[in-house]
């Protein structure tokens, strides 16, 4: 076991793993890394099980002291990291000596950067997961975002250091998309032809008040279905709901488990990690595909993530 000292937490840094599934009947959503692909690759790079807990930083990174040294990897977006003043490349395993400090700055690319350390971040699990659920203050490190002075424990390292990095071709294939692929939502038939036309042909801008619960969009309003309110029902991750007013909201990892707004579409599983890299003011579009195509894309993505060629 070794310790990481949070010298500066950054804007919003939380402990996340791949989330807790199975507690929908209690109203508890899965939570977990907003860019699960980046977390998984980070863990692979340092020799962890791919679901080990790491740190998720948002827009602006922090400073972390490796009191006892560490093998770590940064993945996701480039936050201009330095280790003792020397630039650190993302998507590769790096060794820090005892006492060295990793500093990150504002993002240069997308919304989130992950810090994975060999052995994983160890916190008391809540419902089988280390993930922080911010709204309810449950899970992760004391149920909250990290603060200056927090001391994080890491688990025992199981592997020796190997200087590996993400294969460039794999990186290209997994790059976050701005054209999000969707399948029709459970109430897509409620929306008029004209409404669907607007939804699929417009460019939307990610609103400032977006967070891990939902990504709010600004742009052409989608006319809400004409008649009546719907009865609340279970909602899926990536559901695109259209409240009165017509501004779509994409339900995200810390989503509400049920909701009463009609859903025009649902982002496909293979594009969830792209949602995790959306920043306020980013521009996105939606592209409708068939259910079978969505499944095929996920299978291909999983094959890539499991393949030996992922890392070089």
């Amino acid at each position: 076991m070794s310790v990481i000292e949070v010298q500066s937490p950054g804007l919003l840094t939380t402990v996340q793993d791949l989330g807790r599934e199975g507690f929908g009947p209690l109203g508890v959503s899965a939570s977990g890394a907003a860019d699960g692909v980046a977390l998984r690759i980070g863990n692979r790079l340092v020799g962890n099980a791919e679901g080990a807990a790491g740190l998720e930083m948002t827009l602006l990174g922090g400073a972390f002291g490796f009191t006892d040294g560490a093998v770590f990897a940064l993945t996701g977006s480039d936050f201009g990291a330095t280790l003792e003043g020397s630039p650190v490349e993302i998507w590769r395993a790096v060794e820090a000596k005892p006492g060295q400090v990793l500093r990150l700055g504002p993002t240069r690319t997308g919304a989130r950067c992950y810090l994975c350390v060999q052995g994983g971040i160890e916190v008391k699990e809540f419902l089988g997961s280390a993930s922080t659920h911010l709204l309810s203050g449950l899970g992760g490190y004391a149920g909250r975002a990290l603060k200056k002075g927090d001391l994080l424990k890491t688990g025992p390292a199981k592997n020796s250091f190997r200087a590996r990095r993400l294969a460039p071709t794999a990186g290209e294939r997994l790059a976050p998309r701005k054209v999000l692929r969707v399948t029709p939502g459970p109430q897509s038939d409620w929306f008029s032809e004209a409404a669907q036309q607007i939804f699929y042909s417009s460019t939307y801008r990610v609103a400032e008040e977006s967070n891990r619960m939902g990504i709010r969009l600004e742009g052409a309003e989608v006319p809400a279905p004409s008649s009546g309110e719907m009865i609340s029902e279970g909602v899926a991750l990536g559901a695109v709901q259209v409240p009165e007013g017509g501004k779509p909201i994409i339900l995200f990892v810390e989503q509400q488990t049920t909701g009463g707004y009609p859903k025009i579409a649902n982002v496909i599983s293979a594009d969830f990690h792209s949602l995790g890299q959306l920043r306020p003011r980013d521009e996105i579009r939606f592209e409708r595909i068939e259910l079978d195509a969505a499944r095929a894309l996920l299978i291909k993505q999983e094959e890539l993530l499991a393949s030996e060629d992922l890392l070089v």
Partner: protein
Amino acid sequence: MATAGAGARFQFASDQSLLVYFDSGIEEDLSKDRPPQSPITLQANEKVRKLLRLLELEPVEGVRNLHPAYCSLLVKFDVLKLRYDEVEVILRGYLARLDEVKLPESRVVEIPVCYGGEFGPDLGEVAELHGMTVAQVIELHSSVEYRVYFLGFVPGFAYLGELPEALVTPRLASPRRRVAAGSVGIAGNQTGVYPFATPGGWRLIGRTPLKMFRADREGLSLLTIGDRVKFTPIDAERFTALEKA
């Protein structure tokens, strides 16, 4: 892709989840251009609870999560293990056995509520809307036994119904940015308690000192699907005492 059968209707929700709707035996007219939604009935909700119960007792390999609601169940599955049509076939098998499912005896849970004042900022307006006194609203709200239809929205939020007809009130035109934990609200014909400080559009009529969701409690949530709930009016002094307990 809505299909009828076994008193239930299937609808894909995403590439990894589907919805089972219960239409409480009403034959639906599929020729309508907009599929009807299941009406909220205890009968439909009981089917939701039975299907949920059966899936919890006999979990399906590859089913990852379940989101129950009034008259529907969202089933999330692992796309790498199951295909949509396979899940539907498995669920049809479960649906055929619903009659044999015994639901656990429902508990009666009492929830003390301090009505009005800073705890229930909308109580006066609700009374005004219905031409009642504040005392009448409190009397009416606490006179009925409610059913927990499901937990949803956030951890431990129980959707309770049905509100007495005379209290049915539309939600606020613009939701509050922050509703305090423990707040008791009404919206439409529903009532409920906010377990955490969250944004919320329900009209707030009081607050309970009880913790609705605790990580260190067996079962975590004070309320469970199927429970029956009674609200008991308390004064501010009792509220403070219970809050400290």
